[in-house]
Homo-oligomer: 200 residues x 2
């Protein structure tokens, strides 16, 4: 069994969203599954000294133009939310919990949350809004809210994010294929060739 593709993403990352809409089908074309790994860019920024894109002079303005253009290029619906960026601790906890819990289509859950934020403008930083996004997948809202408030779930995500950054994950999306790291939605073409050829 080939190992799953590790897909790290932050829910406030437009490029993470764009890649999330592609990675499942890409993996399937090569007989792989995806391990959906929520992360928190804030922890990565602390380790690298980098800053959220909108806060970087000049580059931030460029990125505000590049984000919707990249979405149009890929044919993915995208509306820059009125509140951007946001804290993504709540939805990250939700997905971390669902990943450990099992019994749910995690790709569908991730895409429901991403689309709520980047298409419908829902502020998923609020736990109840995040819980509402996965209700249609059969996740009980009260159970999801309890999970997001559970100290064990909080600590679990904290440890996962810490381990990810310690292992070199510094951005979103960040993809690992059999140990090989790829950063950015613009590396999906390299990921595809890597999977086709076993490395180049």
């Amino acid at each position: 069994m080939p190992s799953p593709i590790e897909f790290y993403f932050d829910f406030s990352s437009p490029y993470g969203y764009l890649a999330a809409t592609r990675i499942g089908a890409l993996a399937a074309r090569h007989g792989r599954t995806v391990d959906w790994r929520p992360m928190l860019l804030g922890a990565a920024f602390k380790a690298t000294g980098m800053a959220p894109l909108p806060m970087v002079p000049i580059k931030g303005e460029y990125s505000m133009r590049d984000m919707p253009r990249s979405a149009r290029f890929l044919g993915v619906p995208f509306n820059l939310p009125a509140r951007f960026p946001i804290s993504t601790v709540a939805p990250a906890r939700l997905v971390s919990w669902l990943r450990r819990r099992g019994g749910v289509d995690l790709e569908a859950a991730v895409l429901a949350l991403y689309r709520a934020y980047f298409v419908d403008g829902v502020d998923i930083s609020a736990a109840d809004a995040a819980a509402g996004c996965v209700g249609a997948l059969g996740i009980d809202s009260a159970e999801a809210l309890a999970a997001m408030a559970d100290p064990a779930v909080k600590e679990g995500l904290r440890e996962e994010v810490e381990a990810a950054v310690a292992a070199g994950v510094f951005g979103s999306p960040f993809i690992r294929v059999d140990g090989e790291p790829f950063w950015g939605v613009d590396r999906l073409d390299q990921v595809e060739r890597w999977l086709s050829t076993g490395g180049f």
Copy 2:
């Protein structure tokens, strides 16, 4: 006459080098020429607060892996130079001078300098090494050295770089097509579609 594609690059930028090997043919496919614009990333870093890739923790290590891999992906010869990054003021002055002077294949000059550094490991930060790279194009070495030491050439480049940063150029490669900005060799696919469709 469609306007030329503005191509900004720093000679110490591996991604600038990779894009430089592609942009001429890409432009020609769409009946365009390239305006080769040397820039200095140091000036952009001052304006954005960004740092040279090798100096950024975690991301720097990733980039050392991504640079040669991206070169292999594109089929472009690449050897990370022993001295990297370097000051690129001398070769930037040389190309700035040649651009104003005319009468030379500027693409050939830029590629000769880039290949000397990123394939043959020549330290083109030295004015005489830079001059030597364009000798085969009929540029007299003494004339080139005099140009790089000419206060008017120095001031010309300084003004060009300042104007570029003021106009939003913050990285290398940075490409403008009819006013639309694209950053990175991984945006060449968007540049190509922009030229094909007139914008998307």
